[in-house]
Symmetry: C2
């Protein structure tokens, strides 16, 4: 059992606002007004400012000196840039796992992956809730990998991208039903490449799935008339 | 000419404290007390809290809920983790430059590199100031590469690591005189591999120089009895 200090107030506000941005309740490009948020949540303006700095680190808002904060835009260029670095960071994580571990030591990955696949199998009503569950289980595999690699900087960097990536999944929600099989296949291929210590294979699996997600998101943005 | 909004107060405080951490004036593991900093700089406690969040993003302080902030430690494990991700991110940047540009289009890199080499040649008294100048010129090459690659997430991630990397250079300061030739050779090899579009060569140059720096820093930490 692990006892954790409760999150700071600014972290709680950041999580609340972050969730609203990820699910699209706060729209890309929308202004986030400190005073309004402070009065809505009945917290100090200073706590909201701190929360905005945390959200900036998580790539969800942009802060302009003396002009305030805005929900990050979601243009095709930004989606491409986001997936470019995220896919590379995932490959880095995978490479570092395989540099240090092999064979039997990686059975834990398999059990994490099986959990994701179980979540996917038991989903009855794909929708917002389904997406959240699959995303959560998927990030569980990454958490496990963090423990194997033990690089706090890589973990922090990847975790800071997690909300922005989650936001793109939510954009793709309308198409999510068809995505489940694809996601299931991805995790299956991922686990097998890892167990076989097949680094080029593992990178290929990550690159293909990342590119597939990116393409989905871009086509939806295009349909929404953003592109 | 570009007009920029002046930095926010919290950014100015972050830069002031950041400089003290990078140069070792604030020691690894030392507590940073909000109230003390606020009274020293005659600013509000809220502004100091914001500055600490900015420094956390730049990997220079750690913040513990309800226990306050501490200058990040500089253990061998942390130095290794830092160089691991930094070298990989630099290779990512180099890869993305070569994916999009080649030959004549890369002559600008050459002129940036020549600036670094000129700085090195004209240094008369290697010391703290010399290190800062070389580091600054070296980061100028990266700035140029950012412009070629145009990925704001990669730029931001690399920039957030820059102060922590600079801090390790400062640790290596005692040995800096001997490092100048090595640094000069690195930038020369870097420019040639880039102009030839030789990606494996470029990755090798970055990896070797990064590993060399890492080894220097680790040996100094060991000598200081940290390891």
């Amino acid at each position: 059992m692990r006892f954790q200090a409760p999150e700071s107030l600014s972290e709680q506000i950041a999580q609340h606002l972050g969730q609203r941005i990820v699910t699209g309740d706060l729209r890309p490009g929308e202004r986030v007004q400190e005073l309004k948020v402070a009065s809505e949540l009945n917290v100090s303006r200073g706590s909201v400012r701190e929360a905005l700095l945390i959200l900036q680190r998580r790539h969800l808002v942009e802060i302009f000196p003396r002009r305030g904060a805005m929900v990050s835009k979601l243009t095709p260029d930004l989606v491409n840039s986001l997936y470019d670095i995220y896919i590379d960071l995932l490959c880095m994580l995978a490479r570092k796992v395989l540099e240090r571990w092999s064979g039997q030591e990686l059975m834990g990955v398999m059990s994490q992956v099986n959990e994701v696949r179980l979540v996917i199998e038991t989903l009855e009503n794909p929708g917002a809730d389904a997406a959240e569950k699959v995303i959560e289980a998927g990030f569980g595999v990454m958490q496990y990998a963090y423990g194997l690699v033990n690089n706090p900087f890589l973990e922090e960097t990847l975790e800071n991208f997690r909300p922005a990536i989650s936001r793109t999944y939510f954009v793709a929600l309308g198409h999510f039903r068809g995505e489940l099989k694809q996601t299931d296949r991805f995790f299956n291929e991922l686990a097998h490449a890892a167990l076989e210590g097949d680094m080029p294979g593992l990178e290929g699996v990550i690159q293909r799935f990342g590119d597939h997600q990116r393409t989905q998101v871009l086509s939806i943005l295009r349909a929404q008339g953003v592109a």
